[in-house]
Symmetry: C2
Subunit: 196 residues, 2 copies
């Protein structure tokens, strides 16, 4: 690949003081050479409504933020989903975004899209239970989710400073390693016909 | 209990033509004597944002639909969550509602609240995978989820007519049976101190 490898980053929290938004920002800042992480903010996305889903029979035109998100997912080489764990699952915010982008089933922008998962939590678990539910959801959409390295950042209060800068160097290196692995993974799962 | 047993019903789809909204409507219509199912529409609920969560440190006043939902959950004897299965999970719409109502952890309106799950799908699975993820989410919130009967309505096109009336009598009986079991379950899990 001669062009930059483009990763669309989605944060599952809308909070200004979110560790997960901060973790995504750190990934964007410190992406390895040749990898670009663009962030799409989910704040203005409406709740999923099949009546507004132009890809369904009888559906109306999709709301503008949805159309933009779909276009951004389509054009990205891969996705990076950075979600808090709410109720032992991914946030409703990130699930709602996937509900929009996963249509139509089997032919959506998520189908065979390489995806990496990451998350941060104040407690020790680092969003592991939430990521496991997301993996199930992304099996349904036919996405190719990166298996390792796992990025589950526990004890977030000690990893970020007051301004939410990532100050824990091993975590920054892990994030960089994951982005590199995501690019390798995307190459591996690209069909032979597309690389010939 | 001499008063009616009140169940707050939430549908996880916002679509006008939703089988899950229709299933919830059927439950409300055909509730056994002494059980009342009220429906709260999630259409106007915003995406969960911790900056707008007055129950978190530094959070602002909750948006009006959230405050109303929280109050309705608190005052209900039990919940009935009727969600479609999107991406092998519950919808982002229902997950988002639970994200709002599950604060603060361990002392939210969902804590020890009796809950029943139901769902309908055009295919055979009847939302079983989505319900299993929801059970995990509701373990986190400390809710008491009814175990049986399971209401997973597959082949929905044959169970509802054109006007989305439930025309399959065994399914209606199952829905009624579940509501009765939910009332019994609520009695079983009520602390002895509250029934003395």
């Amino acid at each position: 690949m001669s062009h930059d490898f483009t990763v669309l980053g989605l944060a599952g929290s809308l909070g200004r003081r979110s560790y997960n938004r901060a973790l995504l920002a750190a990934a964007a800042e410190s992406a390895p050479e040749g990898i670009v992480v663009d962030v799409f903010d989910l704040t203005d996305l409406p709740l999923y409504n099949p009546d507004l889903d132009e890809l369904l029979p009888g559906g109306g035109p999709s709301p503008q933020p949805v159309a933009e998100l779909v276009e951004r997912v389509e054009s990205a080489d891969a996705l990076l989903l950075v979600s808090p764990e709410y109720n032992w699952g991914p946030s409703g915010v990130i699930r709602n975004a996937l509900d929009w982008v996963s249509r139509p089933a089997g032919a959506s922008p998520l189908f065979e899209k390489p995806v990496a998962l990451a998350g941060a939590s104040p407690g020790p678990a680092g969003t592991g239970r939430g990521q496991l539910q997301l993996r199930q959801n992304l099996l349904s959409s036919g996405s190719f989710v990166l298996q390792h390295p796992v990025v589950q950042v526990g004890d977030a209060r000690s990893r970020f400073d007051e301004r939410l800068e990532l100050v824990h160097e091993p975590t920054r290196e892990l994030v960089q390693e994951q982005l590199g692995a995501l690019r390798e993974w995307a190459l591996r799962v690209t069909p032979a016909s597309a690389t010939a």
